[in-house]
């Protein structure tokens, strides 16, 4: 008699479930957001129009895919992008993208000091934007005002920081990104 594959499937599903781990560590002041950390936890979070959005590691047997990345180009440009989702709506993703150009060696040194270096979006070399995905494509809205603070921690191969900004898309819809924080593994090329 041929054995049903159902039990085997159930077994593997159980193994995957047990070995999966939700790595979300809440902030002690606003538990809807991940705790601010500087250890390369591969997490980010922010209140977007007062709704919490986050990206945090969900470790599974297939690895721990991250919704964010940080990379540098020739030490003068730094690009950060975080894909954040709302709780229980994992498919509704909003991305926050930051591009810092014309970085100097002094900027890199300052990023390793104290709480890091603050970059204002009033500087034309510093750009931040929110990307909304829909069936019609991507809508990118540039930050009007605000800042991103970046701390580089070479010892733990991490880059962490905070951000906050306001933006308005062409239809007049306003976005307020508040209490933003990120902490990702980063290795300078």
């Amino acid at each position: 008699m041929k054995k049903s594959g159902f039990n085997k499937g159930l077994f593997f599903a159980l193994v995957i479930y047990i070995s999966s781990c939700d790595g979300f560590v809440p902030d002690p002041i606003d538990p809807r957001l991940p705790v601010y950390s500087e250890s390369g936890k591969n997490q980010a979070g922010a209140l977007i129009n007062n709704i919490p959005f986050k990206d945090h590691p969900r470790v599974t047997v297939f690895g721990s895919p991250s919704g964010g990345f940080i990379l540098n180009q020739a030490d003068t440009t730094l690009i950060l992008q975080f894909s954040l989702s709302e709780k229980n709506k994992l498919n509704e993703i909003k991305s926050l993208h930051f591009c810092l150009e014309k970085l100097t060696p002094e900027d890199w040194r300052d990023m390793e000091k104290d709480f890091g270096k603050k970059f204002s979006f009033e500087n034309p070399s510093i750009k931040g934007k929110i990307i909304i995905y829909s069936n019609d494509g991507e809508i990118e809205t540039l930050a009007e005002s605000g800042q991103i603070t970046i701390k580089h921690i070479p010892a733990s191969k991490a880059m962490a920081g905070t951000f906050g900004f306001t933006a308005e898309d062409p239809t007049g819809k306003r976005y307020e990104i508040r209490f933003g924080r990120f902490d990702y593994l980063f290795q300078r090329f």
Partner: protein
């Protein structure tokens, strides 16, 4: 280091007292805990937790049999509950606690006690290890019933003297502004004690 010194000093002191005057007990009970703060959390609610441990009680002076020195070694849960947008978020902070105290029996079955808790942070479901301070000190006072019986009851109010949170002051737009040390625990304990070695009542 100072924390270890206090613990060792107390145990050396207790070892000097004749065993015949010692009472050893096991205790278990419930905590109602909340935090006092400078407004960083908005409105918090108390939450229920547990504690359990052992204690040793000695009468150091034969001519004052109603006065005793007692030390609790406890595992205790403190914390707070936040309400944000109608949802509840529970923050547990767990400690190993060393609590020396003075106890005075006003009547045979009624006593009062007061002392200091030296709490060592063990675990929390929020924040990181570095988010909470490793040590907390708290002042407490309380009362006990039926101390001379095998089973006795106690209640205690504890007030944190040192902040438990060491975190970042994060502005909504401008990001980190500095560091903050805040959140002082307030805990009410209610429990039952089983006196497993009961030599003190020989007086």
């Amino acid at each position: 280091m100072r924390y270890k010194f206090i613990v060792v000093t107390f145990f050396v002191f207790f070892m000097q007292i004749p065993e015949g005057f010692a009472q050893v007990g096991m205790m278990v009970g419930t905590n109602y805990s909340n935090v006092r703060h400078d407004g960083i959390l908005g409105k918090t609610q108390g939450q229920i937790g547990l504690h359990l441990g052992i204690n040793v009680e000695v009468v150091p002076l034969k001519n004052i049999p109603n006065l005793s020195l007692k030390t609790d070694l406890l595992l205790t849960q403190k914390g707070y509950t936040l309400r944000i947008d109608g949802a509840r978020y529970r923050a547990n902070i767990e400690y190993g606690s060393f609590a020396p105290m003075l106890k005075y029996a006003i009547m045979e079955d009624f006593s009062i006690h007061s002392g200091l808790e030296f709490n060592r942070f063990t675990e929390s479901n929020v924040g990181e290890d570095i988010t909470f301070r490793k040590n907390e000190k708290a002042f407490f006072f309380g009362l006990g019933l039926f101390n001379s019986k095998i089973i006795s009851f106690y209640t205690r109010a504890s007030f944190g003297l040192t902040p438990v949170l060491d975190y970042y002051d994060i502005d909504p737009i401008e990001g980190i502004q500095g560091r903050i040390s805040d959140l002082y625990t307030t805990t009410i304990m209610l429990g039952i004690q089983f006196n497993i070695h009961h030599e003190k009542i020989r007086f």
